[in-house]
Each structure stands twice: as C-alpha cells, then as structure tokens.
C-alpha cells in the first residue's frame, strides 16, 4: 500500500530563454483546491471524516492507498482532531501562495570532444554500427552551467497550525520548504545549519549570538491575519490563531532551475564507447545551444494510487483537483521568453 512518498506529483512550467542573459524577477505560484470551490468540504475535514466513517464501518482498507500515505500514515481516527467544519464547504481554504525571487541565467556552449572525430573507415574497421564520419568521439565534456538561484520571499496558506499547535507529529500535515539563507556579520559569513543542533547562546563561552545562518526551513506561514469574527458574517473561524489554521496546503515543494537540451548518443564495439551529439542512427543525439529551459517545478502533495507494495512509492494522484497559476516577471537582458507546460525542444 501507500506509505511515505519520496516523490510527490510534479507540475512543471518551462520558460525558454536565450543563454547568457541575466534576468531576475518575482515568481508567483498560486495553487488551490479546484472543483468550482462551492460544494466541497475542505480536504482535512473531508478526509478525516472519511477515515472516521470507514473506521466505524470497518472498511478502511478500501481507502488504504491514500490513508497509508502522508499525511494520514494509516493512523486511526483518534489521531485527527475534528475541526468541526463539516457542511461548511470550505475547500477554498486549501490553497498555497508562494512568492519567489528568481535570478540568474545559464551558459551553453558546444561540448568539448576528446580526440579527433572518427572516420567512416575507422568506424567500420572497428566494428561500430553507425559509421557516420566526423561525429563520433572517444570522449565528451559538457560545460554548460545553470546559474539560476531562487529564494522564497513569502508563503501564505491556512495550514501552519498543524505543525505549530496540534502536536500531532504523526500527522505530517505541513511540509516546509527549505530556505537557504546565509547571514554575515563583522566576522564573516557563518554557516550554521538549522538542521544541526541549535546554537546555545546562553552557555558561557558559547557561540557569538550574531553568528548564525544556514539552511532555514520556511514553514507554512500566516502573517498579519486578522479575523473579523462571526459577528460580521465574514467567518466564524479565526484564522489569526494557529489552531484554526488546519486546512490542507497542497504544495510540498518548489524547485526552480535551468536545463538545456542535451542527449549524448553512444555506441560501443564491445570494448570502446564512442560519443556523439549528431549521429545519424537512433537514438538521436543533440545539444541545443540557442536556448535553455527555466524549469519551475511545483511539487504537489499526493498519494500512490497504483502502489502494489515494495520499494519506493511515487505519488500519482492529488488528494483533490487543484488549479495552478504561475506568474513570472523577469527583468533583465532579454524579453525573448516563452512559457509552456512542456519542455521546449526547438
């Protein structure tokens, strides 16, 4: 059955960009439960109620795939608090909004081959299948470099309460996004990692307080929320309090990086491997140098609906139908950009 999922669902957006153009800009990512948002319970409440009802009926096994995956981990109903949102149809609360600062670019250059290109006669004499002259080499090095960096500026959702106050560590209702942050002081760049033991500033002879830094985790945030209370009719759930922020943020992670079109074909005569980016035989080799793809990889929480047991488990279904809106505002050395749901290949 399910279980912890090392590979979530991935929704990617590809932006075609010429090489060696420095750009930077804000990247908005909005993800929300989407099924018209008018007749669905919020995901936490609905799934909790499903577990409750099937547990009572003794039929929990019928929903074992998603129940055994994060965040439910095949726990009994007692693990999950009833938030009392049945019949409130608040699936709109299951959203995640992230703002990144993306900068950089990518250099692309033709691979550097080792030695001279093989001739047709040499290829034939050595027993290679593809004897195309001038395209096969004994070695190849690709020195194209992705210089893309990104920083999560802020994240908004209604789910940070699972981690902050519920105390149900078993229920992994929130997934933090790691924020790489290094801070400098008069001494220099420090490199303390938040995954290591926190610095004990109180210990005599301990670390200097202003020396800190490392990989900080950006948990689900809610800043400056103000509840207008039930008296106004604007909602009886006070989202300014942590224990009410128990909705289902759908985003597990976001990665932003650059990649280029490269496929190095190989053939061997049983002893020596040869490399090419332009063979006439298949599989085709290629290495495009006129553009690269900026990849915005939005990882959505899901479960393995087709898991048959054993080995790792990859998510293949979201817990609910979602809608993703991505908005990128690059400023810099090019306006020659094209966005797509699939990788640009030409």
């Amino acid at each position: 059955m399910g279980g912890y999922l090392s590979t979530p669902l991935s929704i990617k957006k590809y932006i075609k960009i010429p090489p060696r153009r420095l750009i930077s800009g804000f990247l908005h990512i909005n993800v929300i439960s989407h099924d018209d948002n008018d007749d669905k319970l919020d995901a936490y409440q609905w799934y909790r109620d499903e577990i409750d009802s099937h547990t009572t009926a003794g039929t929990l096994a019928s929903i074992a795939d998603w129940h055994s995956a994060d965040p439910w981990r095949a726990q009994a109903i007692g693990v999950f608090d009833d938030e009392g949102r049945a019949n409130k149809f608040l699936s709109f609360g299951d959203y995640d909004c992230l703002l990144f600062w993306v900068a950089g670019g990518m250099t692309i250059q033709t691979p550097i081959f080792t030695g001279s290109a093989w001739s047709k006669a040499a290829l034939g004499a050595a027993g290679y299948t593809d004897t195309t002259a001038g395209v096969w080499y004994s070695g190849i090095d690709d020195y194209c470099q992705n210089f893309v960096k990104y920083d999560l500026i802020s994240r908004m959702n209604n789910g940070y309460g699972h981690a902050a106050l519920m105390g149900d560590e078993v229920y992994n209702g929130t997934v933090a996004i790691t924020k790489n942050e290094f801070r400098s002081d008069e001494i220099g760049i420090s490199g303390f990692d938040s995954t290591s033991t926190p610095i004990d500033y109180d210990t005599a002879g301990g670390e200097v307080p202003n020396e800190h830094g490392g990989n900080f985790q950006k948990h689900i945030m809610s800043c400056g929320s103000h509840s207008t209370s039930a008296n106004t009719g604007d909602g009886d759930i006070d989202l300014s309090t942590a224990n009410k922020n128990t909705f289902f943020p759908p985003v597990q992670d976001v990665e932003v990086y650059g990649t280029h079109r490269l496929n190095i074909a190989t053939q061997t005569n049983g002893a020596t491997v040869l490399y090419s980016i332009s063979p006439t035989s298949t599989p085709a080799g290629y290495h495009l140098t006129d553009f690269w793809n900026l990849v915005i990889d939005i990882k959505i929480r899901g479960y393995d609906d087709s898991y048959t047991g054993g080995g790792s488990s990859d998510a293949d279904k979201e817990f609910f139908k979602s809608r993703v809106n991505v908005f990128f505002q690059p400023f810099g050395e090019t306006g020659n950009l094209d966005i797509s749901d699939t990788e640009h290949t030409s």
Binding site: L9, G302, K321, G335, D341
Partner: protein
C-alpha cells in the same frame, strides 16, 4: 375694286354697248335692240340683233347668206346687197364701235376672249410684249375670279412680281450665267430631297445666311468634299475647327460608335490619347494610353464633390489590372486592400469613430477602443465590475517591454493548469 365679268356684261348692255362672246346668244339674255358679236364656228364673227325677244344674225365676217334687214317684216319683199364685196363705203369708218385691225383704236372696255389654245397669239417675228402701266401697286394681276395668282407691281423702287400660289417648276431651271440675287425667302422653308442630287454642277455657295435666326430643313446635305464654316471643316470622316468648338444642344449628345470606342486625341497625336469604351450592357471603360506606357495620368478635378455611385456594391482601385483596393458599399462599407497597406499622413492622422474603434488582423480583433476610452487588446471579453482603461486578453505571454537584447527588458509570463490526476471521490 374691279368689276366682275357679269357686272361688265350688264354695264355693256345698259349702255347699249355690244357684247361679245361665242356661239349664238341665249334668248334669255339682253333686250330688244341689243347687239352682240359672237364668234361662231364656221361663220367667223357674227353680229346679232335682238328683236322680238330673239337674236337675229345680221352680219358676219364669213360667207354670209342674204342679208336680213333688221326690224323689217319677214314677209316683206324688198331686196338688198348680199355680197360683202358689193358694199361701198367700208373704209369710211363712221362707226367707232369696232376694233380696227391695225390696232389704232384702243378698246374702251374689257376684252373678253373666247379662249382656247392660242386664244392670244403674237405672230410678229422679233420682240413681242405686253406692257403694263408704271408705278402701280397692281399694274397687272393674273387672277381666277378675284383670286390673284401673279401680281406685277410697278411701284417705283418697289417693282416686283408677286407669286400668290405655289411655284411649281417642273423643268430644270437655268439662270444661265446670271446671278440670282436679292432672293428673300422670308417665311416657310426650303424643302426637298437633295441639293445637287440629280444634277450636279461645279461651283460653290459663297454663303448661306439669314438676317435672323433661320432654319435649314432637309434630309441629306451631301458634300463631295468638305463642309467649311469659317474655321470649321466637315469632311467625310473628320470635323476640324481652328478655334474652340462648342456643341450646345437642348437634348442629349449621343455618340454612337459600332466599336464602342470613342477616342480623345491631343493635337492629332494618335499614340497618346484617352478613350471611352462602351461594351454590351453599358459596360464602360475610361482609359488613357501613353505611348511610353508610364504617364498617361487621369485626373478628375471637380470644383464640387466627386461622387462614385455604384449599384453593384463594389468600387475597385487597380494597378495595371491587379486589384489593390475594393470599396464594398453595402450598408456596412468595407475598404479592402490587396497587398500591404500603408496609410501615410503628412500631419496629424485621426481615426474618429462615433462608436467602437476596432483593429483586426486576419479577421481577429486585436485592439478595440470604445467611446468611454477603454482600450481592449485581443478581444478582451471578461465582464468586470467596471472596465479598466487598458484590458488585455492574454495567455502565457502577457506583456513585454524593452529596448533591445541585453537592455531593459521586462516581461510578464503566466501559465495556468488544472490537475488531471486526483482523487475523484474527494468531496462526494
């Protein structure tokens, strides 16, 4: 007023003047004692005396029977001279009631001739004449009853002959070498078939004119060479003029060419010209022809508007036969251009629509501006609480702004997607 024939006859009778006539007089005419000279065939001129209500022949110019003595009894037995040659004293002429054959005695009354072929015959060789009095408005009238046919007017300085009836000349008239001058046709018309059609002669009319507006009516005016009016010359195939030529008609001016082509030349240049070509169904082409094929421009220069009114909806503008503009003139007019279109203004260019202004590419709306100054790009169709002043319907590539590659580029890119693999049982 002249006396009628009957009045003159009565006057003769009442004045005991002999009467004249032909044949024996009727017994109902005259009174006893009247004398009448009658021309009787076979007897010559016979002198009749009416007595006892009947006319008695008493002498004649022919062979006479025994002379009767008027007033005598028919039963008397006296005798007399019966042979005219036996008469004496014939030369004494002691009765001036007779005409003398030498014409020395003028007639005092009207002369009535019996008529017939040669009733009045001149026999003298040489000149013969009838003389009429001078300075008379009606010196001589030839008339039927009182209807004049020909009047000779001898009024001083106004001498003339007046024809009061149609003049029918049924033979070729020849004025010889004499000029026919001062012919005044002051009414009516010259009507005929052709002047010079049947008998042509060399020579020219020096002028055909009128002191006032007149008319020449006919069927055919046929000149063997040219008609020339001042500088205007009409030849068999050409009309030329040495000055401006005005064609001024009260009705239509109709040019009817079987080829349908009417050409307009400049100073006889037949290589560079304009033509007006009419084909079947009135299909018309106004064209210019330049021998060089480049500068045969056509200009429509109107002090007022130039109106092109096509019932067929379309007006075309072509370049050497290739359509460039088509103006569709139905109730939603369209200006269609074939080829790249540039609207060039040397100063401010304004496109002013009283309703929406819409710019399209390949029938697809790209820009629309409404009368509230809202601008919509790419058929923006969302219904908003209130329209923005700039509205863009865009997908993926929303906006870009920049100077050039490597300089000041700012872009907006967006992407929307909906998950396809999810728990379809969720929320049910």
């Amino acid at each position: 007023m002249a006396l009628t024939r009957e009045e003159r006859k009565l006057l003769h009778q009442k004045s005991q003047q002999p009467t004249f006539g032909s044949g024996k007089p009727d017994s109902r005419e005259g009174s006893d004692g009247d004398i009448s000279f009658r021309k009787v065939e076979g007897s010559g001129t016979v002198q009749y005396l009416k007595e006892n209500n009947d006319w008695t022949a008493i002498s004649s110019t022919g062979e006479m029977p025994v002379m009767r003595i008027g007033g005598g009894s028919s039963g008397g037995g006296s005798s007399g001279v019966s042979n005219h040659a036996s008469l004496s004293g014939l030369e004494s002429d002691d009765h001036d009631i007779y005409l003398l054959i030498d014409g020395s005695r003028a007639m005092t009354g009207d002369l009535s001739l019996g008529g017939g072929d040669g009733a009045l015959t001149f026999t003298v060789a040489g000149e013969n004449s009838i003389k009429i009095p001078d300075n008379q408005a009606s010196a001589l009238i030839i008339e039927e009853a009182n209807t004049a046919y020909l009047t000779f007017v001898t009024t001083n300085s106004g001498e003339k002959m007046q024809f009061h009836k149609a003049l029918d000349i049924d033979a070729v008239s020849d004025f010889g070498s004499n000029s026919m001058t001062n012919v005044n046709i002051d009414s009516g018309a010259i009507d005929g078939t052709a002047i010079g059609a049947s008998s042509q002669a060399a020579g020219d009319f020096t002028a055909i004119g009128a002191v006032a507006a007149g008319t020449i009516v006919g069927t055919t005016i046929d000149a063997t060479t040219d008609f020339t009016i001042d500088g205007l010359v009409l030849t068999a195939d050409t009309i030329t003029n040495d000055a401006a030529l005005t064609v001024d008609v009260a009705g239509d001016i109709i040019l009817d060419a079987n080829s349908g082509v009417t050409k307009f030349y400049l100073a006889g240049d037949t290589n560079d010209y304009a033509s007006l070509t009419v084909a079947a169904n009135g299909v018309t082409t106004l064209a210019t022809f330049d021998d060089g094929g480049t500068v045969g421009h056509l200009t429509l220069d109107a002090d007022g508007d130039i109106i092109l009114d096509a019932a067929g909806d379309d007006i075309y503008f072509k370049d050497a036969g290739s359509e460039r503009f088509r103006m569709d003139l139905d109730d939603t007019p369209t200006l269609a251009a074939t080829g790249a279109l540039t609207i060039h203004g040397s100063s401010t260019m304004t496109l002013d629509a009283t309703s929406d202004f819409i710019a399209k590419t390949n029938t697809r709306e790209v820009i629309k501006a409404n009368t509230s100054s809202n601008i919509y790009f790419h058929a923006y169709a969302q219904t908003l609480f209130n329209d923005y002043y700039i509205n863009i319907s865009a997908s993926n590539r929303h906006l870009t702004s920049g100077v050039s590659d490597f300089q000041q580029n700012y872009s907006w890119l967006g992407k929307h997607s909906v998950s396809t693999a999810y728990n379809t049982s969720f929320g049910t």
